[in-house]
């Protein structure tokens, strides 16, 4: 019988991780890595939840040690973790501790006669590769959302008594300014190199205002031109977004951009090149000059609400 351990933290919605674990394991337990003593909420649809907390869990090394111990104690052969920045560090260390086979950022997993396979994106998002996981311990990670509110029965946080890992000393920790975080935006107007000068960004700004949207952009706008800061960048090295409306203006639609926005509900693109790859990812392809269309669109939207 196969047992999975789903790893999460109090502010994450782990339902996708539980679903992934259920697809390949008969039994699924959750372990909540909590900040401090107290209680945590039981993870729904699992066969049991434990919660751990303590100073050693401040570092990735400490969490990896604690999870390796938990996996051994529970006889878990499958570990499913969130694909957040914090857990990416932990996942690599845990893979080493368990000598496991790891497929990060999996879309789905299944069992075949050969063993467990996982599907994941590679080559900048062009391809889905299927990987066969050839070790006794299998580790998977998947994208998760922040949990809105948590309710359910409570479990007590067990103090983790492992020693503090040596070598790293935390000097300071400050919350980053998350305003302008596009990952939860409802509407986004995004622009790329099709916009010819910095002054023209104001025109795109007017469109985003008229649509009640946040402003996004492609990488060259941040990295080469420095017209906007990194939080506005959509794509592989920027933010992954899934708004109800994604409006791409003068963006070619290279795969590194597409992976960051292709899960948006409704995608509109304006581009003067009828063969621009962005159109393949769009619901509405507007072929034309953005300098002719955007100002008229801003006016028409204003007239509509007036």
């Amino acid at each position: 019988m196969s047992r999975a351990l789903v790893v999460t933290q109090p502010d994450l919605d782990a339902s996708r991780l539980v679903g992934l674990a259920r697809s390949i394991a008969e039994e699924v337990h959750a372990i909540v890595v909590a900040d401090a003593a107290g209680t945590a909420i039981e993870e729904p649809n699992t066969d049991g939840t434990t919660a751990i907390g303590g100073p050693a869990l401040e570092t990735a090394e400490g969490v990896a040690d604690a999870l390796a111990a938990a996996a051994a104690e529970q006889g878990a052969d499958i570990i499913v973790l969130p694909a957040t920045h914090r857990f990416r560090e932990i996942t690599a260390l845990l893979t080493a501790r368990l000598d496991g086979a790891c497929a990060p950022e999996t879309i789905s997993a299944s069992r075949s006669s050969e063993g467990i396979t996982a599907d994941r994106l590679a080559y900048g998002g062009v391809a889905i590769v299927t990987v066969l996981l050839q070790r006794a311990h299998v580790l998977l990670t998947a994208a998760v959302d922040i949990r809105a509110t948590a309710s359910g029965s409570e479990v007590a946080v067990k103090p983790c008594l492992l020693p503090m890992p040596a070598g790293k000393e935390l000097m300071s920790r400050v919350a980053l300014d998350q305003t302008g975080d596009l990952s939860s935006a409802e509407r986004i107007v995004s622009f790329g190199r099709g916009v010819r000068s910095r002054e023209d960004v104001a025109m795109i700004g007017r469109l985003s205002e008229a649509l009640g949207a946040d402003l996004g952009c492609s990488r060259p706008i941040v990295e080469d031109l420095r017209w906007l800061e990194l939080p506005h960048q959509v794509g592989l090295t920027g933010t992954t977004v899934k708004p109800a409306l994604y409006f791409a203006v003068g963006i070619s639609g290279q795969i590194q951009h597409l992976v960051g926005m292709r899960d948006s509900k409704y995608i509109v693109a304006i581009n003067n090149n009828p063969n621009a790859p962005i159109f393949e990812a769009s619901d509405l392809a507007v072929v034309g000059d953005l300098y002719e269309i955007v100002p008229r669109l801003v006016e028409a939207l204003a007239a509509r609400t007036a």
């Binding site: 260390l93 990987v131 050839q134 393949e280």
Partner: protein
């Protein structure tokens, strides 16, 4: 200070396409280059070299063709490069890569600081630096956005989910860096051409104390068994013609889609 920079030789992912007829990934024809993210690790190492007089060694696990990436890295300011290659080079998985890098670090070292980029453009696993750190029993941080050497330790700024942290990390340590750490210098083709091949050592697994058999796909932790295109095109409507017409149709489409406020 001795610094090892782990660099991957990758296909240019912006050039990878699926053949619309055969549905096969056109990987072989794609041009290859140094992994974008590793350039930032290299830049950080070269800056430390300029400030402190460190020795910078490049490490790469990959095909013989990666020699050109090694020369590029030396041209950017590294002292020398070590490429470990073998029959497994085209297919090696992250755990295998990390094991060979650990072997390389042990046999060519000791190193005070091991740097790499946070991810590789092709595989996008983000596993190698962490597994390497565990193998060497060194402290590890990823997402590094600031780095200052400070005697037997380094001061490291890094960003993770919504927080910025500063750590003092004891050396030897393994760090993987964010592309916002610095702006890599550009190297010209001429500078690369001028690099003598004597600065690039090409080794086998046995030279770093490991056996080729460990890295064959059948023995590896993970093995790719299938590959297919990621996204199906959306069923789209095309608007073209007079801008005023286009705008009217555009607005009614937005209304019908229910995405206007």
């Amino acid at each position: 200070m001795r610094i090892l920079v782990c660099v991957k030789h990758v296909p240019d992912t912006t050039e990878i396409r699926f053949d619309p007829v055969t549905k096969e990934l056109r990987l072989r024809q794609a041009p290859t280059k140094i992994n974008n993210y590793d350039e930032h690790a290299l830049e950080a190492a070269v800056r430390l070299r300029e400030q402190l007089g460190a020795e910078v060694v490049i490490a790469c696990i990959g095909p013989e063709e990666a020699g050109k990436t090694m020369k590029t890295a030396v041209a950017a300011g590294a002292d020398r490069a070590v490429l470990v290659t073998g029959p497994w080079a085209g297919e090696i998985d992250p755990a295998g890569t990390a094991a060979l890098l650990a072997g390389l670090a042990r046999t060519q070292g000791p190193f005070d600081l091991i740097l790499s980029g946070d991810v590789s453009e092709d595989g996008y696993h983000s596993l190698v630096p962490g597994i390497l750190a565990a193998a060497l029993d060194s402290p590890f941080l990823r997402g590094v956005t600031g780095l200052t050497a400070d005697g037997a330790s380094v001061l490291v700024d890094r960003q993770t989910d919504g927080v910025e942290e500063t750590y003092r990390v004891r050396l030897p340590a393994v760090l993987s860096v964010s592309s916002s750490l610095n702006e890599p210098r550009t190297v010209t083709t001429l500078q690369v051409m001028k690099v003598s091949m004597s600065k690039v050592a090409t080794l086998n697994a046995s030279d770093v104390g490991l056996d080729d058999a460990l890295f064959q796909p059948q023995a590896a932790a993970t093995r790719i068994v299938g590959i297919r295109p990621a996204a199906q095109p959306r069923r789209q409507e095309v608007l073209t013609g007079e801008p005023d017409d286009v705008v009217q149709k555009l607005i009614s489409n937005l209304e019908n889609a229910g995405v206007l406020s």
